[in-house]
């Protein structure tokens, strides 16, 4: 008598993102062992990320270097300009990169940070005199050349700059790692007059010593990130009277460019993973939340091995926070739509990332910098090329790890895609040699039930996504099974709605 097939349904597989921390066997099937070039889409499914579309056509000034930072300048009159840095130059434009470096201004590093402040954009980098641009002047000039500039000395050539509470704040200087300078109110070029000032927090560090890495403004607070500690000042609207609100020892910030404001929170990369300040106005306390508990060791390894620099961006439109380890070409995408039970964010990985900078424009577009110039995060090709989407489940036991499972059929349900070649992967008992069953996703409209005109009426107008259900035969057996899906994303989104596995449960091993 033939045994009945057991049906295991992986609904919305990996909608909790990657989890490399928990034991594969004991893991919730909602996690993924691998989720590369994936995001959590609006329906909570794992889906392919968008690609990037290079919009730069002339990057002579950039040469072979990469865009290290991008910033959109916007003033109150509506004037906009895209500035970027790379190849030891200040660049402007998107299609054609124009060198805006001031004359007789030598640059040997591209670790600039740019901020908008009071109809101007300021460029700060450690050891370099700050630069400034406004629409009236029309060119990037040295800060000291601005009429009324005061106190622009090497002491305030900081690496970190923050525009907040009506002032510019700068810190992380060549030799002074504990002082923060702030400009006069609404005057970014006056650092020695008016209500400008400074604060030396060398006596404030909870661990006795630390170095300022980054600054952030949040909920009336000035958050000062050290390498291993955090100091929070309240009343930063009047910096002369702001006072210490909280200190956090043992948790610091890895890099200035990992700090992102999400409106309700501040995200930053610590040495133990991505963290955030929870906004608790009532309690007036600052509970720290770890957002990357599912990939902690992976992040630590990346941090320890990072030899280049970090970049991050928060996109409310995409609902993600991207964190890129540029030196290791790895980007982690943290979905901000919701958190897991333990407060972690759902995370996916974008390997082989060429992204070297980000900027979310006022319009919501996401610009990406790379060695190809400035790109836009859009469509589903990497500058016309396909990229590989991967999903691998954790080891599945079908409820009983002691019994053999004979996978007979795997039925993925894919939403979207069109014409791509996808592969179902599976392996038994922790074997990393996957068996693969490839299948062709029909072109959009060919086999779809949707978007077919019926009596000349579009039933679902405005969408071209199709749902593809395939029943693929599988072979082999083992006590645990890993199922995956790989697909080359080449112009169409792909979401993995469901994987149904029909298996024959055998004897106990």
């Amino acid at each position: 008598m033939a045994q009945q097939l057991s049906s295991i349904n992986l609904v919305a597989p990996a909608f909790k993102g990657v989890n490399t921390e928990d034991s594969p066997i004991a893991q919730d099937p909602s996690f993924a062992e691998v989720a590369d070039n994936a995001v959590i889409d609006k329906r909570g499914r794992i889906a392919s990320r968008k690609g990037y579309d290079v919009i730069t056509t002339t990057k002579t000034e950039l040469g072979s270097d990469s865009i290290r930072a991008i910033r959109e300048f916007r003033d109150s009159s509506g004037n906009t300009e895209i500035f970027s840095v790379g190849n030891n130059k200040i660049l402007s434009g998107t299609t054609t990169l124009v060198d805006e470096t001031p004359a007789s201004y030598s640059i040997t590093a591209d670790n600039w940070k740019m901020v908008n402040f009071n109809d101007k954009i300021y460029f700060f980098q450690r050891g370099y005199e700050p630069l400034v641009y406004d629409n009236t002047g029309g060119s990037v000039v040295k800060l000291s050349t601005v009429t009324g500039a005061a106190g622009v000395t090497s002491a305030m050539y900081g690496n970190e700059v923050l525009s907040a509470y009506g002032r510019l704040w700068t810190a992380d200087f060549s030799s002074d790692k504990s002082t923060i300078y702030w400009s006069d109110l609404l005057i970014g070029h006056d650092w020695s007059g008016g209500t400008s000032g400074s604060i030396d927090i060398s006596k404030v560090w909870p661990d006795g010593y630390d170095e300022i890495v980054a600054l952030a403004a949040h909920n009336g607070l000035l958050v000062i990130f050290g390498q291993h500690s955090i100091v929070v000042y309240q009343g930063a609207e009047a910096p002369a009277t702001m006072s210490l609100s909280d200190t956090v020892a043992g948790v610091g910030c890895v890099d200035r460019d990992t700090v992102q404001h999400t409106g309700t929170d501040v995200l930053f990369l610590s040495h133990t993973g991505l963290r955030s300040f929870g906004r608790t106005i009532q309690q007036k306390s600052m509970p720290l939340q770890t957002l990357s508990k599912t990939i902690t060791k992976d992040l630590i390894a990346l941090i320890q091995n990072e030899s280049s620099f970090y970049r991050s961006v928060y996109s409310p439109e995409e609902n993600f926070y991207l964190l890129t380890f540029v030196g290791q070409s790895t980007t982690y995408c943290f979905d901000l739509r919701g958190a897991l039970e333990d407060g972690s964010l759902r995370v996916t990985r974008w390997p082989s990332s060429v992204f070297t900078s980000y900027e979310r424009l006022q319009s919501g577009e996401l610009y990406i910098g790379s060695d190809q110039g400035i790109s836009e995060y859009k469509d589903y090709q990497d500058n016309g090329e396909s990229f590989r989407f991967k999903y691998y489940s954790p080891s599945l036991t079908f409820g009983d790890a002691s019994k053999l499972k004979f996978i007979k059929k795997i039925k993925p349900t894919i939403v979207g895609a069109s014409g791509e070649v996808a592969s179902i992967k599976f392996a038994y008992d922790f074997d990393e040699t996957y068996r693969s069953v490839a299948f062709n996703v029909p072109s959009s409209g060919a086999g779809a039930e949707f978007n077919v005109a019926q009596f000349n009426i579009d039933e679902y107008s405005g969408t071209t996504q199709q749902v593809v259900r395939k029943a693929l035969n599988a072979t082999g057996s083992g006590s645990t099974v890993v199922v995956g899906l790989e697909a080359d994303i080449d112009g169409n989104a792909l979401s993995l709605q469901e994987i149904n596995i029909l298996a024959l449960v055998g004897k106990t091993v």
């Binding site: 006069d184 007059g193 000032g197 400074s198 030396d200 060398s202 910096p239 002369a240």
Partner: protein
Amino acid sequence: MDEDGIIDPNQTDYNIGTFNPMDAVMSEEAIANLGTSIAGEEGNPLSGLLSGIGSFLSGGGAQGLAGIGLLLNAYNRLGGIGEEGLRLGQDLATTQMEQAAFRPYTVTTATGGQFGTQIDPTTGQLSTTMAMSPQEQAFQQQMFGGAGQFFDQAAMPTGDREAAIFERMRATMSPEEQRQRLALEERLAAQGRLGVRTAQFGGAPEQFALAQAQEEARNRAMLSAMQQARQEQAQQAALGQQYLGASYLPQQQMLAAFAPGQTAAAQQQQAQLYGTGLFGEATASGIDALLASGLGQANLMGEAGTGLLSGLFGARSSTATNPFFSALADLAS
């Protein structure tokens, strides 16, 4: 009069010379001798006169001569009385000058101070001396010294004193200021604001406020020190003035004590002058009486001489020319 020629009020008989009327009549022998002596000189023009006189005398002219003698004697007598009157007046003036002369005196106070007047015996200059007792002198010196010290201190520039007062005030204020600084430092440290530096305030606003308050207190202390120094200067001057006044107090008291003594002396002087006046008046009356008696005697003698001459010249004038008068006429011519 005493031997110094001063009239003694007690003396009643003054020798103004004795007068014998017969002394004024020449003896006939003397007259004859006189005529002879004169006639004996041969060739002398007066020989005729003398011989005439002789003839005259011998012709009863002796009586006439006696009359003349009395007249001459009376005349001389009157001149002597005037001279004697002058002499007696001078003697009286001298006596009264001496009587009315200032008599030195000394006033001694109860505390031993003395006030005296002296007349230099050589120059006759009047001098006044005051001498305080040793205790008074010691007190005066002490007061003088004190006054000098106070005036010296008052005359000194106030800068050093200002600084000294300021330092003392600062020494009083500094501990509290230090406590305030430490409290603020602790508060700022607790607030993580020790390192605040602002262009507006220099440091934190609280530091500025504290520093401003302390500087204002310092300024007030400085102004107070200046005022205090000036007040002390005025006080030193006032004390010097008081000491100086006190140093003259013994002298003032001595002068005050001298006033009654001076009154007594004045009264004595007045009595002396009054006595001198009485003496002068009495003596002058005596002199007047004496001179009047002399004048009476002279008048009497003159009248006697006049009578004798009148008898002589009245008898001869009607008969012949008197060779004596002729001779006198010759002499006159």
